[in-house]
Every structure is written in structure tokens, then in C-alpha cells.
Symmetry: C2
Subunit: 358 residues, 2 copies
């Protein structure tokens, strides 16, 4: 098990060695360790290796200075200057919150950014301001629209954080695909087939091969097959793609650049980098804060106390499992997979960073 | 086949006989016939019977005067005065558009309203202003959250309308449940079982009985089972419920009143009526209009021209089927189901409205 402080310090040191200023390295490390704390290791220290390689190959700008492209009272468009996703995104959400204080709500479209870690991190920035936070992002095309043979959209996540009073906040954070890529890869490693309705062959026919994604296959949208509503997941991923890319001037759908340096960037891209979209909604721009926060407590307890289905333990409020994990992991630390440890040791050796405890 | 103008005139006459002012009757009829035009008869003339019975029993206010409860530059909270959903919603979206002209975006939370027909109608109001329109609504509890035995949330629809230049607009309009109630009822009428993953028994176990909804059963969220991502559909339905009800002061989840007069209203409701949530986002508050509209054309043609999956004809752009249906139905008229015709004849006889052509 590794202490969170240790992992953060390691991430900061490695990022600084690649020319990232201390403050920005700290912000990036915060997002990565937040994912570890919340038991989402697929978006945690595992990503540091790719961030470092992208910085080293010049595909991410270590000293990015994001700049405002356009503004209205409740909107802002930010060019991320091709910086680290977490650095750009923390700033974008800061702008959203600042503007929502005046305008009631505010919405920030971001272009020219990169992989930003867990969407929930930025949505949650709004909570301490008694605002609802929203965050979405497009990603490289792994998901096939309904009736499409090929992946044309990302797993495009959506996060919504809503404050309550006595109850902990409601925090939804989910990809709009039927299954996470990480889960597909895990089945492949275990040599197990994948059940129908998660992935498809390059001709769009159903597949049971968890290795199909490396052979031109694609993941199905949330909803799985058309019969079970994949067109709804396709709609959601599309809206997230359009908000993230077209309002900001980033790349959409099949043009979203990869977030790893071992995959090439296509030529003649229609936009700049990866896109995000953030929102902040001030509660008391709609109704008295007290009424809403007590209403949220009522909502949460009503759902939490709902009669569980046969065989189920309880109804879960979005955000509960991650928050409970974070409370536990804060003290006892988190494990790292062997592959992640190896990669971190490799980086530490190369960049002369102490990692004797790894 | 029935001409749209005939059906509209019939709806207006019946609503006027119940004390609804002509303008409001016209607005309501417009929404109902728009659903018929777009081949969504479940939200068309079929609903008129329930609207009339709700008006007659005093559960909908025919002469409602919706009023503003709260405002900020980019937000507004509207009390629908318990009016017809379409009347309240058309006004709410009008306010959203008006405010978005100044603030860049605007968001209107509505309480004390009723069933509003198709969500897409209101989202599409934004298109001619070169704005993106959003609309969501909660509904009476038919959908079981993941791990819940009972229905606690509505089929809570989300609609997003996005303008393009040469291409027709992108219009997504979908319920956040695994299946529409209408489809479940149809299987029941046909005496056919329903496949697993759509509905559940009152103890939360899987059911193949399409009649289970009348016996305390529930519909599963978008995503179907937990394995296939029902927790994501549960998150979406929850966010829509919270935006529609808690920001506005309407009833949430299990407390949302029924939209038919033959089901009783619960006592001691925590809020007022049904809730909606509308948004309008001005394109040029984010980027130059031309760039966005051409970008949308590019997005639409890219997806439309994607290689179809084996056995599929083409990739469909959200809104295509409904628009194509409307173009066809505009000239040739629409059919009505026998039950709908019977109900309309019953109303016409009772309210002394001419319906010799029915």
C-alpha cells in the first residue's frame, strides 16, 4: 500500500522534471491521486506514464498558458494552449464558478486540451460554492454509434455534482458507453470471453472477443443493443461530443487525438486538441439555498431508504462508493498494480527521481 | 387518415369547451399534433383525453397564469399555476431564449406544471434563434433505481436540439428508461412475453410479464441491468429529477403526481405539481455562428456517412426519423388508433363538438 502523499510527491517530481511548473504539477498530481483515493485507478497513477511521455514527445505543452477566446455574461471559451488536461480543466471550472456567482450559471467550452483524468473532480469544485457542477469531455473514438460498423465517438463521460445539507453530495460520474475499456482489457488478460452486447467486430456484428478493440472493433454505446436503447447512449455521447468540441473549436468524434504518445495524430484535423465542457449553476439563482439543500437531503434519504431489490443490499446514491473508498484509502493508502509500479520505476530511473519505496 | 389541421381544430374545440382560452388551447393542440406529425402517437392525440379529464376534475387549471418566482441574469424559476404542461412549457422556453439573448445562456426551472407532451418540441423552439435548446422533465415513478425493488423515478426524458447550416438540425429526444411504457403495454395486448432486462417484479427480481407494471412492477433504467450500465441510466434520471423538481420546488421521484385523473394524488406532497427544466444556449456566446454551423454540417455528414454495421442500412442522425415522418405526414395525414378515436368521440359527444369525420 502506498500513502497518497507519497504518490502525489512522486507525480509532482516527475512532472517537474519534464518542465511543468510546480503549481501545475501539483494540480495534475491532485487529480491523479483523487482518482486513486476514489478507487478509480484506471484514471489515477496509471495515467502519469502517458502524461510524461506526451510531455517528452512535445505533444503536451508543459508551460501552457490557457487563454480566453470569447466571453459573454454566462459563457466563456478557453483555449488550453495544449496544456495538461487537469491544469486547463481546473482553471476552466474556476472561471465557470466565478462567472456563475454573477450570472447565476456559467458554461465554459474548452479546446486545445488533453486527457483530464476523472470528470467528477471538476464537477465537485462547484460544491463548496453551493453550486451544481457539471463536466463533460470527448475522447478518442472507441464507441460505435447505433448501426455504425466503426468507433466514431469517445466513451465521453458526464459528471454532475449536487450539494446537500446533512447528507454528502450527489456525485454522478460515468462514461456514456456500455462498458469501460479497462473492463474489456481485464477480460482479455484473463483469457475470458466477453458477453454479447458490449463490443462488436469491425463489420459491426456482435463479438465475444475482449481483444477485438485492438483489431478494429468498437464498444457499444450505453444501452448496449438497439433493442435495449443504444440509440439513447449514442445521443448522449453525441451531445457531449458536440458541446465539448464544436462550441469550443476542438476536434470531434473520429478526429479526437489519442491521449497516448504511441498512437499517431491524424493529419489535417478540423479542430484543436481534445475538448471539454464545464458548467456551474448557483443554487440560489433558482431558489432559496436552504430549501434546496434540505430538499436534496430528502431526495437522498428517500432513495437510500428505498426497499432493496431481492438479492441486493441497498440502493446506492451516486458518489457514495467513491466517497466511502476515499475515506478508507486516505488513511490506509492505495495499492498499485505491478505494471504501474514498473512504469513509475522506469520513469524515476530515467528522470532521476527517488522511488526507493516503490 | 386524418388531416393535421382537422386534429388540431378538434383539440382546440375540446380544450376551449373546458374553459381553456383560445390561445392556450392552440398552443396545447400544436404540441399534440406535432407528436402525431413526428410519429410519436404515444404523446399525441392519445393524451388529449387525459388532459380533458384532468381539466374537468379540477386537477389542471384551465385559466392558469404562470408567474416568475425568481430570476438572475441567466436563470428563471417559473410557477406554472397548475396549467396545461404545453402552455407553461412554451412560455418557459420563451423566457429561456429571451434571457439567453442577453446572458449567453439561460435556464428555466418550472414547478406546478403538468404533462407537457414531447420534450423535443420545446428544445426545438431554440433552433430559429441559432441557439441550442434543452428540455427535461420528471414524471410519475415507473422506473426502479439500480438495486431498488420499486419504481422511484420517472421515465424522465431529455431533449437537445442543435442547429446546423445546410443539414437539418440534430434533435435528440429520449426517455432515460430501458424501454417506453407504450412498448411494454403493446406486448401485453399482444399476449407476448417481454425479454429479460426491461421490467422487474415488485420484489426487484427479473420479470418476463409485460403486465407487471399494473401489479407493482417497474421498468429498468436505461442500461437495463447493472452489468450493462443501469446505474448510468439511474444517474441520468436522477439528475433530470433533481433539476426539474428541486431547483423549481416541484415534486420529486416517488411524489410526482400522476398525469391521469383515474389515479389519486398522494397527500402531503413535498412540492408543487410536476417539474420541468429548460435551457437555451446562444451559439455565438461561445464561438462564431458560421464556424459552429459549418462544424455541425461536418459532424452530421461524418456520422451519416459512417460505414453501416453488417445488416444495417445507415447510421441515423438523431431527429432524422421524426423529421422525415413529419414531412410525409404533413401531406398524407396520420392514422388514429381505434381506442383513441373512441375516446375522442366520447369527448365530442359529451362536450358537443362536431366530429363527424372521426
Amino acid at each position: 500500500m502506498y500513502e497518497i502523499a507519497e504518490l502525489k510527491s512522486l507525480a509532482v517530481s516527475l512532472l517537474e522534471r519534464c518542465g511543468v511548473p510546480a503549481v501545475d504539477a501539483g494540480k495534475t498530481a491532485d487529480v491523479l491521486v483523487a482518482a486513486e483515493l476514489r478507487d478509480i485507478p484506471s484514471h489515477g497513477m496509471l495515467r502519469l506514464y502517458d502524461y510524461i511521455r506526451m510531455l517528452q514527445s512535445g505533444r503536451i505543452n508543459p508551460v501552457a498558458k490557457p487563454f480566453i477566446v470569447h466571453e459573454s455574461p454566462s459563457t466563456l471559451t478557453l483555449d488550453g494552449d495544449n496544456g495538461l488536461g487537469p491544469v486547463v480543466s481546473e482553471l476552466a471550472m474556476h472561471y465557470a464558478i466565478e462567472k456563475a456567482h454573477k450570472a447565476g450559471t456559467a458554461w465554459v467550452a474548452v479546446r486545445n486540451s488533453n486527457h483530464f483524468g476523472i470528470a467528477g473532480y471538476y464537477a465537485m469544485q462547484a460544491l463548496s460554492h453551493n453550486m451544481i457542477g457539471l463536466c463533460m469531455c470527448n475522447a478518442n473514438p472507441l464507441v460505435a454509434p447505433t448501426f455504425s460498423a466503426l468507433g466514431m465517438l469517445g466513451t465521453n463521460p458526464l459528471a454532475v455534482a449536487i450539494p446537500a445539507r446533512k447528507e454528502p453530495p450527489f456525485v454522478a460520474d460515468f462514461a456514456t458507453a456500455a462498458i469501460a475499456r479497462g473492463k474489456v482489457d481485464l477480460l482479455q488478460k484473463q483469457g475470458l470471453p466477453i458477453r454479447e452486447g458490449f463490443v462488436q467486430n469491425p463489420d459491426g456484428s456482435p463479438s465475444n472477443d475482449p481483444g477485438i478493440l485492438t483489431k478494429g472493433g468498437a464498444i457499444l454505446p450505453l444501452g448496449s443493443t438497439r433493442e435495449y436503447g443504444s440509440h439513447k447512449g449514442y445521443c448522449m455521447a453525441s451531445v457531449i461530443d458536440i458541446f465539448s468540441a464544436l462550441l469550443s473549436g476542438a476536434n470531434f468524434g473520429p478526429f479526437v487525438p489519442p491521449s497516448v504518445d504511441w498512437l499517431p495524430v491524424k493529419d489535417n484535423l478540423p479542430g484543436k486538441g481534445t475538448g471539454h465542457f464545464f458548467g456551474a449553476m448557483r443554487i440560489n439563482a433558482f431558489c432559496p439555498e436552504d430549501v434546496f439543500l434540505e430538499g436534496m437531503d430528502h431526495w437522498i434519504t428517500t432513495m437510500r431508504n428505498a426497499k432493496p431489490a431481492k438479492g441486493a443490499e441497498r440502493v446506492i446514491i451516486p458518489g457514495d462508493p467513491e466517497r466511502e473508498a476515499a475515506e478508507k484509502n486516505k488513511n490506509k493508502g492505495v495499492p498499485l498494480k505491478d505494471k504501474v509500479k514498473e512504469q513509475l520505476r522506469e520513469l524515476c530511473k530515467e528522470l532521476d527521481v527517488d522511488c526507493h519505496y516503490l
